[in-house]
Subunit: 216 residues, 2 copies
């Protein structure tokens, strides 16, 4: 049976909707009383696995799930060995550099050499500044990255921005965008090549629907 890894959080609702459009119903994951992390679609054709967004590519890479839905930000940060198939065109957001509104920095090139940049996306941040030839120290944080500049620990942050509300509430302002991110369909490379359980048919249906799905 086909297993699909779905991401907890922001992308879950639209992930379930697009799978419903191809006849796979995992809406039980949206039930607030649900505690199950594995459920079968009512048609019995597929199983859904509800995991952390960062864990989706892990389950797909190890072949525990043949398909997965995950943000491009996670793929870019973790570089998992998965087949990257379809831009699902929802979950639009961007990876940005932000600084304190009252700071003097209005472009990344104005940041001080050997300054500090706090981020949950340490690889993306490191690559970006390396590409600019700007030596900065990346401070790895797990949450509330905006506290970096607020406490004075870092000059800037690199973080995922959707509406920008969190930044505004914390007196921060974006000065650069690293890349845009959306939800992506990924597959276990070997399952994809072997076309197990008519994976290709399902992927083509999802690809067709993705083009018509309104943005989140």
């Amino acid at each position: 049976m086909l297993t699909i890894a779905l991401p907890k959080g922001e992308l879950l609702k639209n992930s379930i909707r697009i799978l419903q459009d191809v006849g796979l119903d995992f809406s039980a994951f949206l039930d607030s009383s649900n505690r199950q992390l594995q459920i079968s679609d009512s048609s019995g054709k597929a199983k859904g696995l509800l995991v952390r967004a960062q864990d989706v590519p892990v389950y797909v890479e190890y072949g525990q799930a043949q398909l997965g839905i995950v943000g491009y930000d996670v793929l870019r940060e973790k570089k998992p060995q998965v087949a990257h198939l379809v831009d699902l065109e929802f979950g639009h957001c961007r990876m940005s550099v932000a600084v304190k509104q009252e700071s003097a920095y209005r472009s990344v090139l104005e940041l001080p050499p050997h300054g500090r940049v706090a981020s949950k996306y340490v690889n993306s941040a490191r690559e970006y500044f390396h590409g600019l030839d700007l030596p900065v120290e990346i401070v790895p944080l797990y949450g509330s990255v905006e506290l970096g500049p607020i406490t004075g620990m870092s000059e800037a942050i690199v973080d995922l921005v959707s509406t920008g509300r969190t930044l505004r509430e914390n007196g921060l302002v974006e000065i650069e965008t690293l890349y845009q991110s959306t939800a992506r369909l990924i597959a276990h490379p070997l399952s994809y090549r072997l076309n197990a359980d008519d994976l290709l048919g399902l992927i083509e249906k999802l690809r067709a629907i993705a083009l018509g799905v309104p943005c989140a």
Copy 2:
């Protein structure tokens, strides 16, 4: 002014209690309507910084907080450059190896060479199996590590266990303990040596109280 980094989650309540015992009140962090991540103690002597448990040593290492309270598990995993001062004797738990109840493994040495172990604590897990000379592949996960053995992705997990309820609910059983963990008081090494804001006096008071604090 002295800044103290406090961990969100399990250790927060007891962290606030022990600081109240030395006259520093950060109980506003426990108010469910609170959204502030920085508050000043009512006496004006200290500031509290509410951050993810894994981020506590980061703020202390960079000197943004002079003191912090964090689980030994985080210190052991991340090896931050902080002064490790007092065992606060609450938040007792253990880092354990667990397998499926119905598996044949009853000791770690029975695990298959080149088997897989899922964990959020990849460094602790790698060190442990390296010490046993048992070559295993560590699968890094961010959440719901128990899904590793349940889905068949891994033979075992290495995870923090408190009551053991999560393991039992998922049909897993502990077969080995890597180490015991409790909440620890840490300090920024330079602030500690310089004894800024009479840090040493406060640390001694906390040390004295720790010995009398009932276990969580």
